[in-house]
């Protein structure tokens, strides 16, 4: 690289030499930042997976290796209910967010003044989770006098995830060419066929993205859940309770987190690939 760079510098003259060096400097800096960010993200994850096989995970040394925490997981099925409820709530939130975000996301670009509507719809993104959780708690528990539980967590998660889902749909919907619908209508398509044959396939990446975000945001949510869960527990809430109770449960959480990581990551990765690589090519 240097061999190629040196003659270029001498030929390029004084002014452009300076630029050449500056651009190179930026490249190195950007590369360093990128590597740092990637390392910060993936190294702890890999370390977590390694330590879940350690017999003493809090010691900081992987050896001696052991499967005892995974065995403990199978012996103690207390985590199964929170895990299942998180999956179910996440799936429901995903479905509801897809439907709502599609309906609203299609309507906003057709509105006379879409700017204000978009702002109004995404402001909940900036409401602190603690405030939203407390507000919903008061509304459900004290104003409506309802018994809190999974259903309240579900509503809280929909409120939290919907703006994200809406953004996913809107990014695609604002670029949608409505003349395509006119062309379909002109060719004899009913309003349902126009939606199903033309609009839906084109919006699909946004709609599936809305579902994925809905699931992920719900699956990871803890702040609002703590206000709304009543006596029930979702996976993150259960993990947090176990970690906070200073019992010997922490190693189990390592194993559980590893299982969840390796179960969800490939599925979501596959989804994204299907959505943005495969379907795009077709």
């Amino acid at each position: 690289m240097n061999m190629a760079g040196i003659p270029l510098k001498s030929e390029a003259g004084k002014f452009s030499t300076g630029r050449y060096v500056a651009v190179n400097g930026w490249k190195v800096f950007a590369k360093a930042c990128g590597i740092f960010a990637i390392a910060l993200t993936y190294a702890p994850l890999i370390w977590l997976a390694v330590m879940s096989f350690s017999s003493r995970p809090l010691s900081g040394v992987p050896y001696p290796l052991s499967l005892e925490h995974y065995r403990a997981l199978t012996r103690n099925p207390a985590w199964l209910e929170p895990f299942a409820s998180s999956i179910i709530i996440g799936a429901l939130v995903a479905i509801v967010c897809m439907i709502l975000a599609t309906a609203v996301g299609r309507a906003i670009p057709r509105a006379r003044r879409p700017g204000g509507l978009v702002l109004f719809a995404i402001i909940p993104l900036f409401v602190p989770g603690m405030s939203m959780g407390a507000a919903l708690f008061i509304a459900f528990r004290t104003v409506l006098d309802l018994k809190l539980g999974y259903w309240a967590v579900f509503f809280g998660h929909v409120v939290w995830a919907l703006p994200f889902s809406l953004m996913m749909v809107l990014v695609i919907a604002v670029r949608f060419d409505y003349r395509l619908l006119e062309a379909a209508e002109d060719l004899g398509a009913s309003s349902w066929r126009r939606f199903w044959d033309v609009e839906f396939p084109i919006l699909r990446p946004g709609i599936v993205g809305a579902g994925l975000f809905g699931f992920l945001l719900s699956f990871n949510e803890i702040l609002r859940s703590t206000f709304l869960r009543g006596t029930e527990a979702t996976m993150p809430v259960w993990n947090w309770m176990m970690a906070a109770s200073q019992q010997s449960q922490v190693p189990i959480i390592f194993s559980l987190a590893t299982i969840v990581l390796f179960a969800t990551l490939p599925i979501l990765g596959g989804f994204f690939w299907l959505l943005f690589v495969k379907l795009d090519k077709d």
Binding site: R179, E182, A184, E185, D186, L187, G188, A189, D197, V198
Partner: protein, 382 residues
């Protein structure tokens, strides 16, 4: 092909027109519009428009952008509901309240509006698919339509893999595959380059005679209109100002606007002085010229009138003169090189004029008079 792409087509067109003339008595209206008005807010896009297209006719609606021509097309297709419409009839049935999906006409859109997520064949099949046609039949029909626009062999391509001209053909195939009574074409050649446009003009004419379908074609190009149409409707400000054969519009514009739009370079305002059987005389700035009347109503002595002469009909020194020719003293101005010809600007007592010189070898160095035959002098209403 002829140098300007015109004459060769004119021959075929003339033949088609003769056939239509023979059948004149049997002509039946395929499309009938009566008293259509449409407003976009305070803007009047269409003002009481009435129009008829006959079975198998190639009718062109010609006008500048904003003249309302696209609005007419959208009203016919049903994509726009006119503010008021007495009759919109297709094949004799009033469809004014029938939604676009159920009207027996399809549109070739200006931007093509092809479905980007479908292959070429899926695009073409779409109109058949919504009609519930079995897969095998619609594939056969789609391939036939693609063959007709010379795109067989590209049926499996994605729309994004096609050139502009090919997309245009897909749009055409998609619109004709359902065999509508009327094909509406909204400036379909607007986005193509010159050479491709001329080629597509020929193909459209051929397709039209092969299908026997009624074409309603929108364009702002008088050359396109003259080349392809059986009849032309000229629009201005939401009104049809003249309708007739290409020859009618080209040779007998009924107003100063029509004359200007149809490319008369020299137009002068004056008053009618004399009217005889064949000729009228118009006075422009103290000079009297003889010409033929082509206004939309009977001429009246003293009325405001315009004399219009095409640049190529102006004769400079050395040309053969007739005794009855109109003549004017002039001095030569600048020249403008236009490739096939040269435009010579002239200064005259009635104002600047433009003459066209095709034969550059015989250009005169000094010019002092310009003349033109009364048959080449169109006198028309404001």
């Amino acid at each position: 092909m002829s140098p300007d792409g015109g004459p060769m087509l004119k021959t075929t067109h003339g033949f088609a027109e003769n056939m239509i003339d023979e059948q004149e008595s049997k002509r039946s209206a395929m499309l009938e519009l009566q008293h259509i008005s449409h407003n976009y807010g305070a803007v009047k896009a269409l003002r009481d428009v009435s129009l008829t297209a006959y079975k198998g006719e190639f009718l062109t609606i010609l006008g500048e952008s904003g003249s309302g021509k696209t609005t007419i097309l959208r009203v016919i297709s049903g994509l726009e509901t006119a503010t008021s419409a007495e009759v919109i009839a297709i094949e004799g049935a009033n469809v004014a309240h029938v939604p676009a999906a159920h009207r027996n006409c399809t549109t070739v859109f200006q931007n093509y509006a092809l479905f980007p997520h479908m292959s070429v064949q899926e695009n073409v099949e779409y109109g058949l698919s919504v009609r519930g046609m079995p897969k095998a039949d619609r594939a056969k029909r789609a391939l036939e339509a693609l063959e007709m626009v010379k795109l067989d062999g590209k049926a499996d391509r994605r729309v994004s893999q096609l050139s502009g001209g090919e997309r245009q053909r897909v749009a055409l195939a998609r619109a004709i595959v359902t065999q509508p009574a009327i094909l509406l074409l909204d400036e379909p050649l607007g986005a193509l380059d010159e050479k491709l446009r001329q080629q597509m003009q020929e193909e459209l004419v051929r397709l039209h005679s092969r299908l026997g379908m009624t074409f309603v074609y929108i364009t702002h190009s008088q050359e396109e209109a003259l080349t392809m149409s059986d009849r032309i409707a000229l629009m201005c400000n939401g009104e049809i100002v003249q309708i007739g054969t290409p020859e009618d519009l080209f040779d007998r514009p009924n107003s100063a606007f029509a004359a200007e739009f149809m490319g008369f370079e020299n137009i002068f305002e004056g008053h009618l002085k004399e009217i005889s059987d064949e000729r009228v005389s118009v006075e422009v700035n103290g000079h009297g010229f003889h010409g033929r009347w082509s206004g939309h109503q009977a001429p009246l002595i003293g009325q405001k009138a315009f004399a219009a002469i095409r640049a190529e009909r102006l004769k400079l020194e050395g040309a053969e003169n007739h005794a009855e020719d109109n003549a004017l003293k002039c001095s030569a101005g600048s020249t403008l090189y236009r490739g096939k010809y040269v435009d010579q600007h002239l200064q005259t007592e009635i104002g600047p004029m433009r003459a066209r010189i095709w034969d550059r070898a015989n250009r005169k160095s000094s010019i002092s008079t310009v003349s033109w035959h009364p048959d080449d002098c169109v006198v028309t209403a404001p």
